[in-house]
C-alpha cells in the first residue's frame, strides 16, 4: 500500500475537512475531464467522467451531512496531510489523453478510488483520536465498495487497457 498520509489527523473536524476537500476536488477534476473530453469529441469517455463526477458530488454531500454540526477548519491547499499533490481521489490531469478509451478512464478511476480507500485506512490506523479512527474506518469501508464496483464494471466492459484508439485526424505539424 502506498503511503498516502504525511502526518496523523488528530481531530474529527480536521478529518472531515480533509474528507470534504478530497470528494469536492475529485468531483471537480472529473467534471473538468468530462468537459474536456466533450470538447475533444470523445463522448463515451466524457459520459463516464460525468458519471464519476456525479458520484463525487453525492459523496461530498454525504460528508457535508456528517459535518453538519462540526465547525470545519480552513486548511490552505498545500497543508492537507496527504502525500499526493492533490486529494488522493483526484485524477491527475496528465494521465488523461484525448484519445483515451473508456477502459483507460475506468482504470484511472479505479486507481484513484484505491488511493482514496488507502488514505482513509491509513488515517484510521494512525489517528490518536478514537472518533477519527472510527469514522475514517467507516469511510474506508465505503470506499472499498466503490473499488469493488469499479472492478466489476471494468470486468463487465471486458477491458483491454492496452487498446489504442487510432486518431484519423491527428494534430497537424506543418511542413
Amino acid at each position: 500500500m502506498t503511503e498516502m498520509t504525511t502526518q496523523p489527523i488528530t481531530s474529527l473536524a480536521e478529518f472531515l475537512a480533509h474528507a470534504l476537500e478530497l470528494e469536492v476536488e475529485s468531483a471537480e477534476r472529473y467534471r473538468e475531464l468530462a468537459d474536456s473530453m466533450e470538447v475533444h469529441n470523445n463522448p463515451d469517455v466524457a459520459e463516464l467522467f460525468r458519471k464519476l463526477a456525479g458520484y463525487g458530488d453525492s459523496h461530498a454531500q454525504e460528508v457535508k451531512d456528517r459535518a453538519a454540526d462540526v465547525l470545519l477548519p480552513t486548511i490552505p491547499p498545500w497543508d492537507f496531510k496527504w502525500s499526493c499533490p492533490e486529494g488522493p481521489e483526484s485524477p491527475c490531469m496528465e494521465d488523461a489523453h484525448y484519445m483515451m478509451t473508456k477502459c483507460q478512464a475506468l482504470e484511472l478511476a479505479l486507481h484513484n478510488e484505491v488511493r482514496g480507500r488507502d488514505f482513509y485506512t491509513q488515517v484510521a490506523a494512525a489517528s490518536p483520536d478514537d472518533e477519527v479512527s472510527r469514522v475514517a474506518a467507516e469511510m474506508a469501508a465505503e470506499e472499498d465498495t466503490h473499488v469493488q464496483m469499479l472492478r466489476k464494471w471494468f470486468k463487465r466492459e471486458a477491458c483491454d487497457i492496452q487498446e489504442v484508439q487510432e486518431d484519423l485526424d491527428p494534430p497537424n505539424i506543418p511542413e
Binding site: 470538447v39 475533444h40 470523445n42 480552513t74 490552505p76 491547499p77 499533490p85 490531469m93 483515451m100 505539424i173
Partner: protein
C-alpha cells in the same frame, strides 16, 4: 489570512476549456482559482490579462475581469491597467512564446519597472496553438518539429536568469504536476509587493509528450530563497531549469504613477468620439 466565503470553483467562469485533456494548464487554472479563494479576493478586484496562445485563454476560464489581448502584449496592457487602477490585483498569464519571444522586450521592462502585478508564464517549450514549433525555451537539439528538423541549434532562453538580470523582485518556478505547491507559490507571488514572475513548467501532452517525464525531473530548489541578487544569480545559473520554489525575493521600489487622472471619463470619451 482572510477566510473567504468563495470556494475555488466559484472563481471558474463555466466556460469549458479547449485545452487538450492532459494539458498542464488545467492545473494552473486550478491553482489560480484556489489561490484567489485562499486570499479571499473579491472577483471584481481581480483582473486577468493575457496575450495569445493556449495558456492565454486563462482569462476566459476565470470569473473575474479579464482581457485576452494581442500576441506578446499582455504586460503593457496590464501595466496600463495597474497604472490606472492600482487597487486591482492584476494577474498576467501567457506562454513561453508569447512572453519571451513576441513579448520578450515587454518582459524585460516589466521586470525593471517592478509594478505590483503577478506574471504567470506557462512554459511548455513549444508553440502549441500553432501546432508545435520550437519556442525560445526549447532545447537546441529538439528536432521533432518539421520546422526545425535538425533542432534549433540556438541556446535556450533562461527566464529566471533574465528576469533577475532585468530587475524582477520576485522569481519562482512551479510545476503543473504539483497543483498544491503551485497554489502556494501563486499566493506568495500575488502577495509580493512588486513584479512577481512565476514560471510554471506546464507539459504539452500533444506536441511534447516526452514532458510527461517532468514529474521525475523536477526537484525542490533546496536552498532558502535569497534576497541577494548575486547569490540568487549563482543558484539560478547552476540550476538545471527544473528546480521548484521561490528562487529570489527582495523588496525593491515599486513603480506606480502618483498623479491623479486629470480628465474625467466623459472628457476622455469625447476625445475618442468620431
Amino acid at each position: 489570512m482572510t477566510v473567504s466565503a468563495l470556494k475555488a470553483k466559484d472563481y471558474k467562469s463555466g466556460i469549458k476549456p479547449v485545452w487538450c485533456p492532459g494539458c498542464g494548464h488545467f492545473s494552473v487554472l486550478a491553482a489560480a482559482t484556489k489561490a484567489l479563494a485562499y486570499l479571499g479576493l473579491p472577483k471584481e478586484q481581480v483582473a486577468v490579462i493575457s496575450g495569445i496562445g493556449c495558456s492565454s485563454r486563462l482569462p476566459a476560464y476565470i470569473d473575474s475581469y479579464g482581457f485576452h489581448g494581442v500576441h506578446g502584449r499582455a504586460l503593457p496592457v496590464a501595466a496600463g491597467l495597474k497604472a490606472a487602477r492600482p487597487d486591482l490585483t492584476v494577474i498576467v498569464a501567457g506562454g513561453d512564446g508569447d512572453g519571451f519571444s513576441i513579448g520578450g522586450n515587454h518582459f524585460l521592462h516589466a521586470c525593471r519597472r517592478n509594478m505590483d502585478m503577478t506574471y504567470i508564464v506557462m512554459d511548455n517549450k513549444v508553440y502549441g496553438m500553432t501546432k508545435g514549433q520550437a519556442s525560445p525555451t526549447t532545447d537546441p537539439e529538439w528536432s521533432a518539429s518539421k520546422m526545425t528538423p535538425h533542432g534549433t541549434g540556438v541556446r535556450r532562453f533562461l527566464p529566471a536568469a533574465i528576469a533577475l538580470a532585468a530587475g524582477a523582485s520576485f522569481i519562482a518556478r512551479g510545476f503543473a504536476g504539483d497543483p498544491s505547491g503551485l497554489t502556494k507559490l501563486l499566493v506568495e507571488a500575488i502577495e509580493h509587493p512588486g513584479f512577481a514572475f512565476l514560471e510554471v513548467l506546464s507539459p504539452c501532452q500533444t506536441f511534447r509528450p516526452e514532458q510527461k517525464d517532468w514529474k521525475n525531473q523536477v526537484h525542490p530548489m533546496g536552498a532558502h530563497p535569497s534576497g541577494d541578487a548575486v547569490e540568487a544569480a549563482r543558484a539560478i545559473q547552476a540550476d538545471d531549469g527544473m528546480a521548484l520554489g521561490v528562487l529570489y525575493a527582495d523588496r525593491l521600489p515599486v513603480w506606480q504613477p502618483a498623479y491623479e487622472p486629470r480628465d474625467s471619463l466623459e472628457a476622455i470619451e469625447k476625445e475618442f468620439r468620431v
